[in-house]
């Protein structure tokens, strides 16, 4: 029912240890992890409010497909099928280097690993980059 889950802040590169307060599956608050070697039980204003973007009502909740200039909610199968077919078509027509993949400084190592693997092994291009410079 009530849990505190240790994690890492997802704002800047400092990597402060946080505790997420969870009640009945809802994120209540963020606390600093007191004994963490990086932040030693302290946080900045963004860290203290880390749960707020997660709980935002502006979050996307469903895959969206644009039809005639407007987005429509679709199932994962439909969204992924559309994406895969379009991508395959473009690769066939223009070659794999006509595709670019922007991985992210916000997602996990596992996900970055998988997405660059996707670009290199599935699409067949080294057009992989992210916003390290920005």
């Amino acid at each position: 029912m009530y849990r505190l889950v240790p994690s890492v802040c997802s704002y800047c590169g400092t990597g402060c240890g946080v505790l997420f307060e969870v009640l009945d599956g809802q994120l209540l608050k963020t606390l600093p992890l007191k004994t963490h070697p990086v932040n030693q039980g302290k946080l900045c204003i963004k860290g203290w409010n880390l749960h707020e973007f997660v709980n935002s009502r502006m979050r996307l909740q469903s895959p969206l497909l644009k039809v005639n200039g407007r987005f429509h909610d679709v199932t994962w199968n439909r969204a992924l099928q559309f994406t895969a077919e379009k991508l395959k078509g473009i690769i066939e027509k223009y070659g794999p280097d006509s595709v670019g993949v922007l991985v992210s400084a916000k997602i996990t190592n596992e996900e970055n690993y998988l997405l660059q693997k996707f670009a290199r092994a599935v699409v067949g291009t080294n057009n992989v980059d992210h916003c390290a410079r920005l």
Binding site: M1, L4, L23, K29, L31, L33, K42, G47
Partner: protein, 269 residues
Amino acid sequence: MKDKVRDWLETGKVDLFLGYKQVDGHPLPHAFSKENLAELGELIVSPARYALEKLATEILAIKPALKIGILGRDCNQRAVNVLTVHQQISPGQIQILEVNCCPSPLRKHAACSTLQPQTYGAVKLELGVDNNMSVAQMDQFDQESLYSRWMYEFQKCLKCYGCRDICPVCFCKECSLENNDLVATGGLPPEVPLFHLIRAVHMAGRCVDCGLCEEACPVDIPLRLLYRKVNGIVKDLFGYETGGSHEQPPFSLLGESTPPEAEPHSKAV
């Protein structure tokens, strides 16, 4: 301790018990319940303190029917008293299983916990305020020195609001620190010394001297000392000991029946 918590949970004295357990070498707050009695073997007393009564109050705000036990020191008990005085919780909603205490002038226990006083750099002692100082020691500085020392400390502030966010007795829905007419937003440091003095004023008759604010401060501002000073004034003037009882604080006169601000004297000019 474990037997007592087991008993509390089994007999229904509490529905939930907030204590600590070790996770990957870190003592973390953990909720024990009747459903996971087997976990009680892992219950520990933590040298790292979390405001368990604040966590309990947050849970109770959503689930008012619960009864919650917490592992607590004397400061937790004082905080529970203040929360009760200010009607954030009802008497008995939070039960405390007492453990040893850290040093505070407000403490009842003679024994201290494992907490060690922190050491601070020589430059801080020269320019700022030593967090380990007592109010009496601080009062020995002359006015000019006191002023410049506290200004130095406040100028370090990174405006994380951690002092407020971690505070077990900060529960106001509208916080004066967020009143744009009082404190300007958008810059660092926050207005010196307004931000800290506004908070200090609001801690009078409220602060339970747990010291969590100071532990949460990224730049080691001696907040505990500041609030001890204001609470000392409250004690001297009104004879009120914060958190010592369920007695209303002197400031509860203000509010709905008495306007918090003085009447304007426009005619007298």
